[in-house]
Amino acid sequence: MSEETPAPEGSSASDWGFETRMIHAGAGPDPVSGSRQTPIHQTSAYAFHDADHAASLFNLQTFGFIYSRLGNPTVAALEQRMASLEGGCGATCAASGHAAQVLAFFPLIEAGERFAASTRLYGGSVTQFSRTFPKFDWQCDFVDTEDLSAVEAVLAQGAKALFVESLANPGGVVTDLETLAGLTRAAGALLIVDNTLATPWLCRPFEWGADLIVHSATKFLSGNGTVIGGAVVDSGRFDWSASGRFPGLSEPEPAYHGLKFSETFGELAFTVHSHAVGLRDLGASMAPMNAFLTLLGTETLALRMERHCRNALAVAEWLTEHPKVEWVSYAGLPTSPYRELAEKYLPNGAGSVFTFGVRGGYEAGVRVVEKCELFSHLANIGDARSLIIHPASTTHRQLSDEQRAAAGAGPEVVRLSIGLETVDDLVRDLDIALAAA
């Protein structure tokens, strides 16, 4: 044992503060070289000590790496950090946020089974759930999560999970996580929360009763518009064995000689399964370079989110006064119907992605986007750069009119992702664009 890191004396390290964990969690000095920054382990496979070690790894009897589709040290460092920042037990990184969503449902939903999802979601998620998941015979029921009796009804009809966004894209909508967690718990279902727009600095869904959290690491976590990546974080609190509704985790797994994940791994079961079965067979693993860039991003997450939120609030306040602006949907505004929920779930700020309605509808919306000089017209959010898009003609284009309206992406809607620039420059750019619209 003498060659290994000594455990720190004193208090348990889960007591470290958020800013400390965003820099240090999962990333001590490299044991071989002393490299202080996490090395990029650009390798496909890993050597075994001997045949017995190899067998132990393949049987999941010991911790370690076999092949980078299943696990990689750089990716594992990010997984630890995500688990730590969300207050979860473990995390599984994926090639994208969409891959993370497949990975989240994969152990839970068998062919022919159902889950429910909020109507207020990123358009790409609506398309994934309604068009592609049915090809696996996974059926999604979309529900207005502000109508609690509708949520109860869909859970009573057999939905095994409810998927929501804590802070919904695109529309400044805050989800009442604690109330929904009460409903899913009563129904023996899971609450899965996409925490991408809020990040763990603004919202911690596990503290309100969520069971799983998914992220697109492409957004604020990496923070510079550099990577495509995602993560699933497990709270470790759902009792798969007692539930009996999730045979993928509680019943014998044939590919591992009949091993029962929940019995053998307890609270680690979901994350072990996500690597050993999910990534093994779905193959949508995160690249080590993307994990490295995301690790770098998380080191400054709290600082950036503070400035993102401050800039966003200033821009939103300015827009509410503008004659060409019909409405502004930002949960940080005192006039927002979500103000109370924002104070409860997002005490550090309401994020930096929000929408506003331009007088003049679809055509005016398109013109504002095209007239901006500083704002980048592109389909992403959570960048250091400010971004602008007209959802109805882009991100939410593949939806029906009804789906667009439900998602807050009507014809007059413009979505902003406020970056870290000088806020006066952002206001001036929008002022010029609105004048021309």
Binding site: M1, S2, E3, E4, T5, P6, A7, P8, E9, G10, S11, S12, A13, S14, W16, T20, R21, H24, A25, G26, G28, P29, G34, R36, H53, S56, Q61, T62, F63, G64, F65, G71, V75, A76, A77, E79, Q80, A83, S84, C89, G90, A91, T92, C93, R237, D239, S241, A242, G258, L259, S262, E263, T264, G266, E267, L268, A269, T271, V272, H275
Partner: protein, 184 residues
């Protein structure tokens, strides 16, 4: 038989043990009597036993059925009871249900002097507060509802390889082992 994971959520008040307490036990202990060790390689107890052996611990299985058949588990002859375990053994790891933990803890208290027992460790999902109080009164250290495999992996890094939050933060770079440490 309990596992490394069953029923951890059924346990009443959470137990908190400092990292230094757990690390101290795992550094000090050399030999472990594992009550309920299974010869079936797919059982959680067998997983834990194999892992602890790989880390340099001697693990002696206590399993009456395996002992009656004269069987060995992972190269160690099974004992029928704690009384049969060859001394010295510093730790008793209880891989049986919370109810049964009382009986094995009392046996450990009785045999404490003979065998050199210092620690009674109850597996993840196993908790018996009455047994713990009696053992602590007898001078034994008690850990409940934890797995030594998971704790070892958590404290010394390997658990993080699986994407788990270890709760450990350190910026120290430990020096490599000396010749004597390697030899010892």
């Amino acid at each position: 038989m309990p596992s490394t994971g069953a029923n951890i959520r059924a346990v009443a008040s959470p137990l908190r043990y400092s990292d230094s307490l757990i690390a101290g036990i795992l550094r000090r202990v050399r030999t472990i009597a594992m009550v309920g060790a299974s010869p079936n390689w797919k059982r959680p107890s067998n997983f834990a036993m194999k892992y602890l052996q790989q880390k340099g611990y001697r693990v002696i299985p206590v399993n009456p059925r395996a002992a009656a058949a004269g069987a060995s588990i992972l190269g160690e002859r099974a004992c029928a009871s704690l009384a049969e375990v060859p001394a010295p053994v510093e730790m008793v790891d209880v891989f049986r249900g919370s109810e049964a933990a009382l009986e094995f803890t009392r046996e450990a208290i009785r045999l404490r002097e003979d065998k050199g027992f210092e620690v009674v460790w109850m597996q993840l999902g196993v908790r018996n507060d009455k047994a713990a109080a009696e053992a602590e009164a007898a001078g034994l250290t008690v850990i409940m509802n934890r797995c030594p495999k998971i704790e070892y992996g958590r404290l010394w890094g390997e658990l993080g390889w699986g994407g788990f939050d270890r709760g450990v933060i350190s910026s120290r770079w430990p020096r490599p082992a000396t010749r004597d440490e390697r030899a010892g």
